[in-house]
């Protein structure tokens, strides 16, 4: 049996889905968090008889006339796959809006049960909804639920399963003017009539509430942006430099720095294993994975904080604050949502661009979203911050500030380079603030931790083993004493010249950056594997093994380079499918590479001049590249301007 969950955005579909299936999908109180259908089996608690029940969570929609892409998915899914039962989640906080969609659903003929959700909010407001009258008016069952506390869900599911077994087609309520030209209006009138009969409202919703007063501060014209930066700064410095950094430091230096390798070495030595095999296992596999897994506490602390922040309703306000600035670069407040999602992982971030209607705006957001440092880039940031800037706690959070700055500058450039007219309009629902759920944040944190470990023990482990092999053997497959004769060194040396203008000298740096395209954590893991073979010094300690390659300035540049060049392969795949065109994908990747490269170059060359009063390595080629880039960009912008002039589009 297939049960579909449908309803307005922010009506609590995903919260209900998580509750009845035991999953930890990201729920959010702004539209566009769920952009794809998600399926799972019913949890045992709700399925005592153990029947085969699939639950499908669909993106929220206000009606069947699609305004954005993810609403079309809902319609296509319902019309195409015909679930056995539809659970229509009606937002108790806004019954009259929800019912418009409900009446459209009722006409599909599929059995429907209504979950009158957020009953707690309803009763807190003192509003009363007459369930029986509603049920009678709509011709279907109504169950009161509170998804956040799982109230009424057992009842809801058992009724839904019963309905699915009966297989009686749904009979839609009839109303005057249903088949007329202006059926939408007749439908609204019909809904208004029902609401009038069934709902007693105590509260005048147009009165200024506490939420509105908070909004006037946090979304204030001038205060909004500083408040947003302050909050983000607090979250990231707490995670990277504060509690998260402290715990990760212990993990890296003690657990994975000393205890695990010495135990593993002792064990394998005791067994009398060949030293080469021992090195492969301890230095390659365990060392590389350990270097990444050590950052687990940091990831957990960060995502716990971010979940709390999202859950309380603040993020919709951020979209309002950013809208004004994003309009200047041809985007709108909508683009901020993919970027916030992208702070977890660029892939769902890129996919969240689907909520943007305008195709050009969507493409620009797709190109810019990977600039936001994702969870996988955190270990690189934390490692470099710990080694090169132990006393400066601004380095970690500054990456996010640079990211936002680069998004704005990048957006301006894209707007100048590509010719298009922005016609998009911005509207977003502002949910009432609520106290964030610690349980939800905890589950999100566990979910992130699990997948972080999963990733470290699969793709990272495989890459590390290969990297170890490549740094220990030559092309003739014989072990090498000198690492610089290894396979990895020869591959790295091919790319290394490209990085010289950035001040990065050494095949190790290009090899690490290269493995970073498979998964960004690999940058850390690759350094761990390469350096453990040649250096006695610890990787994670201030002035550790990495110090031989970098000055603090070039270390900062290397960080910038890894963060702003194209994301990992998986994210590039997601970009490809969202762009829907290879031409745009390549443009996007070229743009990202250009931004990362030039930015790292500027940091190295300008930074070195200022900090050390001498030009850095590759100063002359850097100037040549900078001049060439400047000429190239001005010609492209000129060309775009003349084209814009021709078709009469304003920049």
């Amino acid at each position: 049996m297939k049960i579909a969950l449908t309803g307005n955005p922010n009506s609590g579909k995903t919260t209900l889905f998580n509750a009845i299936t035991g999953k930890a999908e990201v729920a959010g109180n702004w539209p566009g968090v769920t952009v794809e259908k998600k399926e799972a089996d019913l949890k045992k608690k709700y399925n005592p008889k153990g029947i085969n029940v699939r639950v499908v969570d669909l993106p929220g929609t206000y009606s069947f006339s699609p305004y954005t892409g993810e609403e079309a998915i809902t319609r296509d899914f319902i019309l195409g796959e015909e679930p056995d039962v539809i659970i229509n989640i009606v937002d108790g906080a806004n019954v009259s809006r929800s019912l418009f969609f409900t009446t459209q659903l009722l006409e599909l003929g599929i059995p429907i049960i209504i979950a009158l959700n957020k009953s707690d909010i309803l009763s807190k407001r003192g509003d009363v909804v007459d369930k029986n009258a509603l049920s009678k008016a709509l011709n279907c069952k109504v169950v009161a639920t509170t998804a956040t506390s799982e109230d009424g869900l057992i009842n809801l599911i058992s009724e839904a399963v019963k309905l699915g077994k009966e297989k009686k087609p749904q009979i839609a309520p009839d109303f005057a003017g249903k088949d007329s030209e202006d059926s939408d209006r007749a439908r609204q009138r019909f809904v208004d009539g029902i609401v009038e009969k069934c709902q007693v409202k105590k509260r005048d919703s147009s009165k200024i509430t506490f939420s509105d007063k908070v909004d006037r501060v946090v979304a204030h014209k001038w205060l909004g942006l500083p408040i947003f930066f302050a909050i983000m700064w607090a979250v990231f410095s707490f995670s990277i430099e504060g509690l998260g950094g402290y715990l990760s430091g212990y993990f890296n230096d003690v657990v994975f720095g000393e205890i695990v390798p010495s135990v593993a070495n002792g064990f394998l030595e005791g067994m009398g294993v060949n030293p080469l095999l021992q090195a492969l296992i301890v230095d390659g596999a365990i060392g590389g994975v350990g270097a990444v897994v050590g950052f687990l506490p940091l990831i957990m602390v960060l995502f716990f904080c971010l979940s709390l922040l999202e859950d309380c309703g603040y993020m919709a306000r951020v979209a309002v604050v950013m809208d004004r600035f994003f309009k200047k670069i041809g985007l709108s407040g909508k683009s901020i949502i993919p970027m916030i999602v992208g702070s977890g992982c660029a892939i769902p971030g890129v996919m969240a661009t689907r909520t943007i209607e305008d195709v050009n705006e969507r493409r620009m957001t797709t190109i810019l979203t990977p600039f936001v440092p994702c969870g996988a880039k955190l270990p690189i940031i934390a490692l470099f911050a710990a080694v090169f800037f132990p006393e400066k706690n601004w380095v970690g959070p500054s990456m996010y500030v640079i990211a936002i700055t680069m998004i704005v500058i990048g957006g301006l450039l894209l707007k100048k380079i590509f010719v298009w007219e922005n016609t998009s309009q911005f509207i977003i629902e502002l949910p009432e603030y609520k106290i964030p759920s610690l349980k939800y944040a905890f589950l999100q944190m566990i979910d992130k931790a699990k997948s972080f470990i999963y990733k470290a023990t699969t793709i990272i482990l495989v890459c590390n083993t290969l990297v170890w092999f490549a740094q220990a053997y030559s092309w003739t497959l014989s072990p090498v004493e000198d690492q610089s004769l290894s396979i990895l060194a020869s591959i790295g040396s091919v790319i290394a010249p490209i990085l010289i203008p950035l001040g990065f000298v050494g095949w190790q740096l290009s090899a690490a950056a290269l493995t970073g395209f498979i998964a960004k954590e690999n940058v850390v893991a690759t350094f761990a594997v390469i350096l453990v073979a040649t250096s006695e010094e610890s990787l994670h300690l201030p002035g550790g093994a990495l110090a031989q390659f970098f000055t603090p300035v070039t270390a900062f540049a290397y960080l910038v380079f890894n963060l702003f060049t194209p994301p990992c392969f998986a994210a590039i795949g997601a970009m490809n499918s969202e762009m829907g065109s290879k031409k745009w994908l390549f443009r996007g990747l070229a743009f990202q590479f250009g931004v990362g490269y030039i930015l790292a170059m500027i940091v190295t060359q300008v930074g070195t001049l200022i900090a050390y009063k001498t030009p850095a390595v590759g100063f002359v080629p850097a100037i040549v590249i900078a001049v060439a880039m400047a000429i190239y960009i001005t010609t492209v912008i000129r060309k775009a301007e003349s084209e814009r002039h021709k078709i009469g589009v304003e920049a």
């Binding site: 998600k38 769902p348 996919m351 979910d447 997948s451 998986a570 795949g573």
Partner: protein, 47 residues
């Protein structure tokens, strides 16, 4: 010698197992960054 073969086999076994998992994820276009990441999506559906 026997110890080497056993240790090598165990390690090799683990490696093959995780490589297969990693390969499956890549092929299914699935990222490993949490259940928030959906599975393979149909591309080019919009436009």
């Amino acid at each position: 010698m026997l110890v080497n073969i056993i240790a090598g086999l165990i390690f090799g076994g683990i490696l093959i197992f995780v490589s297969k998992k990693a390969w499956d994820d890549i092929r299914k276009n699935k990222c490993s960054c949490g259940s928030s990441c959906p599975g393979k999506k149909k591309s080019g559906k919009r436009q």
